[in-house]
Point group: C2
Chain length 197, copies 2
């Protein structure tokens, strides 16, 4: 049922995640789904065109995930908890290949690639969504808190990717949940922008 174009995008998504963008070749993708490299160019004119399609696909998946979390957890604190737990949910993937967003952005930034901003839009989706949750909890510095939490999860992903230590992940997730819990009530003395989150 799925078109060749869709299959190329799906396989490119998986391969770029597993091996990185620069290392993934047309040949790799073509071999994986059993088509010739020539046919390939009927669907995508350049390698960057594939990357753009992959990024768009990932953004759509992220939007869908955020919508799912909203329906599953009606309260902001529960939603933030869902976000933190993607680290646990995707534990083995992150240990093997890192965070799909962080590793792609790092690579594209290093290549000075024009699609970096598009890729970083995935960060922005989480940032805006998290900011909305912190706002709903009554925090005036919601955007700072959102960026802060985003940074915390990225750091955990990087070290998990490099060290591959599950105990570290569990510890840090517990710490993040605890941070979130102490933050749940409206602003007391903590504001992430100038004080201790």
């Amino acid at each position: 049922m799925s078109s060749t174009r869709t299959r190329i995008t799906e396989e490119a998504d998986a391969l770029i995640y597993r091996m990185g963008f620069a290392t993934t070749s047309f040949g790799d993708i073509a071999d994986e789904i059993g088509i010739s490299r020539g046919n390939f160019y009927h669907h995508f004119k350049t390698k960057d065109a594939i990357l753009a399609a992959v990024i768009e696909r990932r953004l759509a998946a992220t939007r869908a995930l955020l919508t799912l979390w909203e329906s599953e957890a009606p309260d902001p604190a529960g939603r933030i908890g869902r976000f933190i737990d993607i680290l646990r949910t995707n534990r083995s993937k992150i240990m093997q290949d890192g965070c799909p967003v962080g590793t792609l952005c790092s690579e594209l930034a290093k290549l000075d690639h024009p699609l970096l901003d598009q890729a970083a839009e995935a960060f922005t989706l989480f940032r805006v969504w998290l900011s909305a949750q912190f706002s709903a909890l009554g925090h005036p510095d919601a955007d700072c808190l959102a960026l802060h939490l985003l940074a915390r999860t990225q750091g955990i992903a990087v070290l998990l990717h490099s060290f591959r230590d599950p105990a570290f992940l569990e510890r840090e997730c517990a710490t993040l949940h605890h941070w979130c819990d102490t933050l749940a009530p409206p602003p007391r003395e903590n504001t992430a922008c100038s004080s201790s989150p």
Copy 2:
């Protein structure tokens, strides 16, 4: 005075940091220092041999840096502060090319490269050194705190690299310093492994 081998290693270090390992070619390095590609192989037999030399060079530089910090700051808290401030010191570099350790480890992990462990040794150097400082402050969970701080700085580096927002960096550095300050006295109610850092 510096030998060709040294110049190759230095230039490879810079280029790998700026463009990534996979993207940096022998030609790039050779062009940059004005030698031919043929001469190149007299000093290094394979591309991986260059990478190994670059990693060794970086590890030596890191060891020297940690020793410098120890002489500059006699107290553990001040030394930890030095570590946090590398984010500020290398602000523009990190905005442009990310953390040299984190980005290289991410790339090598994705390539399933045998030198990943060697590259991750740079993390371990910081980890052990930070752990010693936390221990000196009387924290029984010093290694957890060291890994935690390492993760925090990596996350900040990733987002700074992707978003290039200096205000975010200043905010997070201040937050980290504050976290360090409230942590400075021997363990009160905070232990990073199970409670709120």
